[in-house]
Amino acid sequence: MAGRSVVAGAVLRGVQAQLVEVEVVISRGIPAFNIVGMADTSVQESKERVKAALKESGFQMPADRVLVNLAPSNLRKTGSGFDLAIAVGLLLATGQVDPRIVEHALLVGELSLDGYVRSVPGLLAYAMCARDLGLRFVCAESPDGLVPIDGLRAKGLKSLRDLRTGGFAELVYAQPDYAKPRNDYADISGNEMGKRAMQIAAAGGHGILMMGPPGSGKTMLASRLPTIMPNLDADEMLSSALVHSVAGEPLAGLLAGIRPFRSPHHSASSAGLLGGGNPVRPGEVALAHCGILYLDEVAEFKPSVLQQLRQPLEDGCVRISRADGTIAFPACFMLIASSNPCPCGYFGDAEKECSCTWQKVKDYQNRIGGPLMDRIDMHIDVKRVAPGEVIGQKEGASSAELMEGVLAGREYASWRKERYGEGGDSRDVISSCRLGQSEERFFEKAAEKNSMSGRAIVRTLSVARTIADIAQKPAVGKAELCEALTLRVRSGSAL
């Protein structure tokens, strides 16, 4: 029995899939099954799965020389997604299946030993590749990590057996999780100024640093941020879902429009935070794309790891360079950092005494600064709330109330930017404030008195602009300037 076939498969590179032609040639000779074309171990293992799956589904495994070539052969192939394409290629080459049923189709899926098709990570990326090439897309029947996209012709395949009849199924997509988030800012009592700062940060996308003793509610304040942010729009959802799909993370929350909230532990390695490994997997910054990256205990992170956050913060994407090329992940996120004020955590606390020496406090606070300070616009202090206030359940601002301001601010800012063509660079920030003469004098005096640097001035003004946006005011007034001044990042020399 001799035969030949070509089917389309794909391999992931970052968040993009690249077409791979799976050529199968069957020739006479000593029975063998070889895969060539820079296939790594995980692809080599698919031989055994394909053999078992074919037998279980009632097909014949040819007793001849089988050669599978994955082209282009200079591209490293990895993962179990080639199982389906190899099996189908074999069936076509041996004439056991009608070639028309898989014509112009991109096949991606892992096989179980009894012939059923499973999902692999990154299906959304494969589907986009198929759509862009004008191919049909065939994958598992209820695929994990796939969301409906425009212009995609996709079908599900439950088992290899169904190829006999050409019985493809309609895809069953994951359902969005519309469950109301249980978190609400109304849960937090006594931190009204902290909540206000969160509202400003959410409206303007400002980076924020929170400092306070353990148990003061820093994490509570941060983790409720998604509840006051506007829902993801379709483009944002897709680009964020793409990263989550490749990383094999659940998509249900994103589908409901909830922004991702990532809080990596401070032991995170640079590969975990920025992406890496082989094959390259997106890191936390990419998973936080369109959402929030929360660095709790930021002083405990390895300084070298924090240093590497600079590039994604500046460019909105993270680039990982490898010997065989550079891979880019989108990474446009809002940065929230929190820290204890000192190693023991109780410096400045009303009840517990701090056990740190002065030098230790200073060193610790200096560690927080460094590379991230460029991107942090606001600095707030969070105090522990007295038990009475927590139990007393004083009514404070709820997420819904805060979100009103955020939406108003964002709406006004985008109107303002469109109308006046104001971008984000520092000159635009200053001109967009439209300071009157007396406000300008006031701010000049404040900047001089507080010995603010040029960068600090621009950042304070951009926060003031956001505060004015929330109130939908065309010009920044004295009240906004004052509030921004109290939220400004203080230099480490305050000690």
Binding site: M193, G348, W358, D381, K383, C482
Partner: protein
């Protein structure tokens, strides 16, 4: 590791039976056999010790500056420990007033601690003051040496002024040493809610002389050191404010949230606007300052200038 800074200036080893050995120190408990001095050995004269917490608040630093300067202007030698915070501030104030000042170090004079104050030490020497230690030049400072050093500060001085002391603290132990030696202890009171004033307020309760303004300080100098009272002593003009927020901050450091609660009680719906305006303006005017722990409190300049 930064290079060890070596103080330049005349060096003396003063033995216990030497003429230069200060009389008042001879009576101190466990009087050292030798004193290692860089600078002017004649600066080792009875004076006023001004000490306070290292982790000082702007209030503590401001008080140290204000009273050390007042005393130095009258020609009183300011004695302190050369530590950060209040100590360093009082040395600086003395230098500003072109007065003499003496710093007792914990370790040897070639092992400066804290290193960051090396240039201050050099200025002290250059201004005719002295850096003193009971240890050999190269002796590494150890935490236990600093408490021992405190007895020398109390021993040399005629009176000890405490501007800020927590509880327990090295400053508090110096006060104990001073009382044992029969020296006068003057204390600047603080807010009872402020942790950094617990020790000083406790000392007041135990009968230390309270220093509440320039006048009371000059009275104390007069009785204790026999200084002539300066007739021109001004009164303390409190910052004229009827603003409840500002007066709260000046009375006791408070966090942003606490002030917001206060403002809400006062101004209702416009609390936030009012609060941020008061805070930003007062900070700009140098009346209040943000403390390292994030609370707002009276600024160092304000405390130092109220005279």
């Amino acid at each position: 590791m930064s290079k060890e800074y070596r103080l330049s200036g005349a060096r003396y080893v003063i033995r216990h039976d030497d003429e230069l050995y200060p009389q008042s120190l001879r009576r101190a408990p466990r009087a050292p056999e030798r004193l290692y001095v860089v600078g002017n050995p004649e600066a080792l004269q009875p004076g006023l010790a001004v000490i306070g917490a290292r982790k000082a608040t702007p209030y503590g630093r401001g008080c140290a500056h204000r009273f050390a300067k007042l005393a130095a202007e009258k020609g009183i030698c300011i004695i302190s420990g050369g530590a950060r915070g209040c100590d360093a501030e009082s040395h600086r104030a003395a230098l500003e007033a072109r007065g003499l000042t003496v710093a007792f170090l914990g370790g040897g004079c070639d092992k400066l601690y804290p290193k960051g104050n090396a240039s201050l030490f050099q200025q002290i020497i250059d201004a005719g003051g002295a850096i003193v230690s009971e240890h050999h030049w190269d002796r590494e400072p150890r935490p236990y040496m600093f408490r021992e050093r405190n007895r020398l500060i109390a021993g040399l001085a005629d009176a000890v002024l405490i501007v800020e002391a927590g509880l327990p603290s090295g400053t508090f132990s110096t006060a104990d040493e001073a009382l044992e030696m029969g020296k006068e202890v003057l204390v600047v009171p603080g807010a009872i809610t402020s942790e950094s004033s617990h020790g000083s307020n406790r000392l007041l309760y135990q009968g230390a002389i309270p220093i509440v303004d320039d006048e009371s300080f000059e009275d104390a100098l007069f009785t204790v050191l026999g200084m002539l009272k300066r007739q021109t002593a001004g009164k303390t003009p409190a910052i004229a404010t009827d603003d409840p927020i500002l007066s709260a901050v000046l009375a006791c450091p408070a966090s942003y949230e606490e002030l917001y609660e206060l403002a809400r009680a006062q101004f209702g719906a416009h609390a936030r606007e009012k609060l941020v305006e008061v805070i930003a303006e007062a900070e700009m005017d140098g009346i209040i300052a943000r403390q390292p722990d994030g609370k707002w409190g009276p600024s160092a300049q304000l405390v130092a200038s109220q005279r």
